[in-house]
Amino acid sequence: MKGPSIGTVYRWELTKLRYQKRTYLGLGAATIVPILFVLAIHFRHDRRGGDFAFASYLTRSGLAVPLVILLFGAVWMFPLITALVAGDIFASEDHNGTLKTIFTRSLERGQIFAGKALAAATYAVAAILINGTVAVVAGSIQSGFNSLQSLSGTIVSAPKSLELVYVSLLVYLIPIATIVCIGLLLSSVTRNSAAAVVGTLMVSLLFQLLGILPGLTGLQPYLLSTQFNAWQGLLRTPIDWAPIIRAAWVCAMYGIPALAAAFLVFLRRDVAGG
């Protein structure tokens, strides 16, 4: 007979997510947005592209679809989908009054924190990968599984482009992980799901706002919002690793303190309610 572990919490947190509406709301949005996007391309009368990366390729290769969604999803869609679970995962225990129930079993608070954090991260990874996969499939049905033109102007074969799409999704997970950390912190501190979800989204939008304020352009490379574009380095020939490396340490700069603060709050908090 063995004792419980972080893995026990992780598995049960995933089980609990399966029973909660917000999980399906988030994953449903991640699924349906690419389909709506492709439908919009299909029914658009003006076949010319917009003035953003890969715009002109939307009707020529379905592989441009996930990349364009990554571009626009950074503003609020992906932060919101991520925050739906990360912002709720501790606060829902307060809402249900169940912290006292799980804190009086055989698990240390640190184990519970780790299991929950991993579950929130897993959900975020699932949302991004589902979104990307649906976008690839729907885009390919609409515009074909064709080669892409890189941001440097070179033509990249369809299989290589598919590989780059998935690596881009992985790079995109770097700032998403930071959003998870911020969501966990607000969930732990506010003990209120709605406040934590909206708060996480507000933090994300605040970074976007700082990025467009005149006079703050020097800050731009160090803003969280900028790191959502790091994947574009992969779409250059040769690959530009600089934005990706910067994304890793800038996101760590925001994410690690947020995660550490969430951990300490969770570890030391009094459970006076419920």
């Binding site: 419980p4 049960w12 009086t104 240390e108």
Partner: protein
């Protein structure tokens, strides 16, 4: 498990800013006790219980469960189970799923006790329903089942009968009695003083965050002395005799009877004194002192007045 007592609390204090919720609680629960933890609302009972289970950090003082500090490690809760205030569960999961989750969080074979725990609280039939649809009583019973998963040596139950109908309260009482008979030490916080009196051998009574009595119920009753009611052929003269008699306390007229407190020896001397004064006794009857009487005498006095400790004030007079 060690030889250390199941619960040992020393100098426990909890402050929230200027408010002191618990002001220096000391108590010891010995193995096999069914220990009542009593006090009016806001006296600090639940805060104390939460500190005992490591849910709240004390501002000062210490808690040891079987000699271990629950703040240092959750291992201190090995063999300890129960709930504070109402037991809580995930409303979107079934009763069984909730218990499966808690059994997984307990580990060490807790899952093998799940069916037995459901049978014990007679919830097996409703185990596949979502907890969100459970009545209050069913949640209370599920709380007991969740506690039983841990194969506890000590159970901490905070108002387990609250919100139950009379049959539910009776069943809960029988269940606690059965647990105690199995050798489980029980700490029971309850407003139902008759229930505590029936189930518990020892109590702590808390008022304004402080323990005003801790010990055996029998000792508490003994220390309160016994009250008597007296009716004579001449109550006015009898009243004067009572007031003059050594060992007779708190003499007053009550519903056309004389009431007083005294021990047995003093009562024998009083009866002789009454006869010598030419007053014949029509009725002299001891009054049963209930835990409720003692509780009110200890908790409704002037705040900070500890006259009641070990020497409760006369009951009727204290009201």
């Amino acid at each position: 498990m060690t030889d250390a007592p199941p619960v040992e609390v020393r100098g426990l204090v909890k402050r929230y800013g200027d408010l002191t919720a618990v002001a220096g609680v000391d108590l010891t629960v010995d193995t096999g006790d069914v220990y009542g933890y009593l006090g009016p609302n806001g006296a600090g009972k639940t805060t104390s219980l939460r500190m005992m289970l490591g849910l709240i950090r004390p501002s000062a003082g210490s808690v040891r469960l079987f000699g271990r500090d629950p703040l240092l490690s959750v291992r201190a809760l090995d063999g300890v189970a129960g709930f504070v205030e109402a037991p809580t569960f995930y409303p979107y999961l079934t009763g069984r799923r909730n218990l499966e989750l808690l059994a997984a969080y307990d580990g060490f074979g807790a899952a093998s006790r799940l069916d037995e725990a459901l049978d014990t609280v007679e919830l097996a039939d409703r185990a596949s329903d979502r907890v969100g649809g459970y009545s209050h009583g069913m949640k209370q019973r599920l709380g007991i089942a969740a506690a039983l998963l841990r194969d506890p040596k000590l159970m901490v139950l905070d108002e387990p009968a609250t919100g139950l109908d009379p049959a539910g309260m009776r069943d809960m009482r029988l269940l606690i009695r059965r647990l105690a008979d199995q050798g489980i030490t029980v700490v029971l916080s309850s407003h139902l003083l008759a229930e505590v009196e029936e189930l518990c051998n020892r109590v702590a009574i808390v008022r304004s965050g402080k323990i005003v009595y801790e010990g055996a119920i029998a000792e508490l009753k003994r220390s309160a002395g016994t009250t008597y009611r007296l009716s004579t052929t001449d109550d006015e003269r009898a009243l004067a005799v009572c007031r003059a008699q050594r060992g007779i306390r708190d003499v007053r007229m009550q519903h056309a009877r004389i009431g007083f407190a005294a021990d047995e020896g003093a009562v024998a001397e009083l009866s002789q004194a009454l006869i010598e004064a030419g007053t014949l006794i029509r009725m002299l009857a001891p009054q049963t002192v209930t835990l409720e009487d003692l509780f009110f005498s200890l908790t409704e006095g002037v705040d900070g007045d500890h006259a009641g400790v070990g020497e409760p004030q006369p009951l009727e007079a204290a009201r």
